[in-house]
Amino acid sequence: MGVGSNADRMMQAVVFNLADQVYAVDINDVLEIIRPETITRVPGSPDFVEGVIKLRGRVIPVIDLAGRFGLARTAPAAENSKIMIVEAGGATVGMVVDNVAEVLQFSREQIKPPPQIVTGRETAYLKGIVLAGERLIILLDVDRILHEKEKEALEEAAADA
């Protein structure tokens, strides 16, 4: 039982860089990390959707996380850039990141709620901020990143009509 509660307290996250920021997502949401490959652009899809790629016989969308947050991407295709395949709520989606740094283990107590004063689109996708030594790592909520979209798309559609 002691092992279980310890495991409950600890969590692992994949840490990556994007537009000069350090982010992390819960390792349980990450299916795999692949080298970038040719992305097929999908006309008529939302701006933050870069296109589709094939992943072991399936076709999955790739989103531009920076664009999603309203950040400018530094270099369009950095040398170390990867596609991180995440899954949440039944949707499998790829996210282009500049660099995958490490897998970090930390206790849940290290997660601090985002400061109230910080606003902007990315706060909606935050689970919290992880204090790892000197570093501040932004822990993302994959579920929200994938599913807030529908709400927005609906609002946009309503605004267009």
Binding site: E37, T38, T40, R41, V42, P43, G44, S45, V49, G51, V52, I53, K54, R56, G57, R58, V59, I60, P61, G90, A91, T92, V93, L146, K149
Partner: protein, 702 residues
Amino acid sequence: MFTDEEISIFFEELEEKLQVISDNLLVMEKGGSSPEAIQEIFRAAHTIKGSSAVMGYEKMSALTHEIENIFDRLRQGRLVVSKELVDTLFEALDTLRALKEEIVASKNETADIVGITARLRECALSCEAGSAAGEAAAAKDAAARKILSEEKGSVPQGGASRPVAEEVELSDVEEAMVREAEVRGYQAYWVKISIDPGCQMKAARAFLVFETLQQVGEIIKSVPPAEDLQDGKYESGFDVLLFTQEDAGQVKNLIFSIAEVIDVKIQQVRASAAAADGDHSGRATAGAAFSQRVQEQSRENIKTVRVDVQKLDALMNLVGELVIDRTRLDRFVGVFESRYDDELAESIQEISSHLGQVTNNLQEEIMKARMLPVAYVFNRLPRMVRDLAHKMGKEVDFVIEGRETELDRNVIEVIGDPLVHLLRNSIDHGIEPPEERVRLGKPRAGKILLKAAYVEGQIVITLSDDGRGINPAMVRKKAVEKGLLTAEAAARLTDKEVLDLIFTPGFSTSADVSDVSGRGVGMDIVRNQIEQINGSVEYVSVPGAGTTFTIKLPLTLAIIRALMVELGDQVYAFPLSNVVETLALRPGEIRRVRHSEVIVVRGHVLPLIRLAQLFNQESAQNNPDERVFVVILGSGEKKVGVVVDRLLGEQEIVIKSLGSYLGQVPGLSGATILGDGSVALIVDARGIVKEGSGEEAFYATG
């Protein structure tokens, strides 16, 4: 208290048995008291009664009990079949279906069965054998039973039977059945099953054991009785008497495969010789019928395995990948051959072509495994036709051919509704009332033929009637009345084009709107549904002589042939079923009508769409003097031209969805993976044709 699996088994079986009852009631209605039909219904009702009671659906159980009673008496010749009885039984069947729907929807039974139960009883009373007609039917029935008895009698009696083991006590009836089973080559086993005392769902375990054993044989008896087991009222286990052709070891393994079974003891049971002289004459029918049933069941068991559809889909997916890799290998072989000219190249060529063959076969086999006979849809139609014909006061002779034709299950799911709609139209608008038919010199009963067949790698379903047909003049008049087009425009259309108008939204040829058809939402939806699965629907009609609808459907939805085109640096696929032809045009051949571009193909003006514009994408084609490539897309009778950069050729592609995240993207219907591993998007050809060919452009053709 039951697992999803148990519940789904129950519903599957329920649906199967309800269909059996429905089919055989129709037989009875046509052929009077067919002993086989009566026997079939009796068995089906009996099964439903038992399983619905286990599941705790009391009303369903009670109603099937009434039905079973009636058929038991019919079997024995104590009742005779009358039209009224059949009608009431149909009503009872509807009530059962209603109960089933309610259970599926809410797990509650709210439908009233008191009324129908009373009517069944009343009906049964008035049908008692005794009248002159009754006597005749009863005699016929008795003759049928005699056949069964003789069949049984012709079998040599098992001589060397040993006494039953001491601890197993059988009644005379059971002994007779054991003996009967032995004669037929079945073993009788007394099976002691011990269930884990800590088991949480004793009722469910017992149900599973019963369900499992019934796959290989027949449970004759259980201790404690089945009713108690259903309620979980047993201690550490229970005993059953099982008749089966399997050997004891196999039965044992089967039972052990069920969770929480901790021990199984099997002992073979043999009938005592003394019982052989007992009252077997009375059981003869039941015994013979029983062993016949066991035979049927065991035959089925050997032939079929139930597989989850998802597994088949996954398998199909893997084959899809194999197809892709084969295409890649083909490209590689080409490169290899051009570089090296030796035996190695030859071998790899050989391997590649063999792999190609195997992949093709595999693909075909899996496609076949996903297929179901079209009977799944067709079987529910005769009943519907009967009811509709009654309601409309028409007489219809409904003939079905090619029930065994197999279709992808996805296709089967889609064609049900369109077929029902076409049939309704046929009965409502097509077939004339009997008096009118007689006056016209036609047979009283209208004929409707529904036929399915394979033609050139497609499934073709035809539905023809010998009714009054569709009159172009009437259609023309109606279309103008409904304001679908002006009188002048209507006059300019050819007869074929006029007939096509019935597929226009908001069109109905019926003079008065009935609740059967003619709500004016019909034919356009029919065409839509069929085209959604890459099928097509056409019809020919001879006024006064009838109408024939022809529906063409692909064998599968997963793999299609497509025309691959290039636009900028991307590859797009057009489903070949929508590609009419391809053209290379000089820029001068593109004309302008008001603010849109059109082309003239053999005298027809077609709207022209630039794919680059539609997809808001850079075109590699910048030289205004070069020829442009145009793909003519067609859907229904409408056509549009689509300008692309380059034509790449035809290819078989595996359709992949764009996924729930992207959902429906306008202009696209999916994606596919190409030989080089990149993703190509599949163009929604039907959507483009619909968008592109405004009504204005369409009627400007004349």
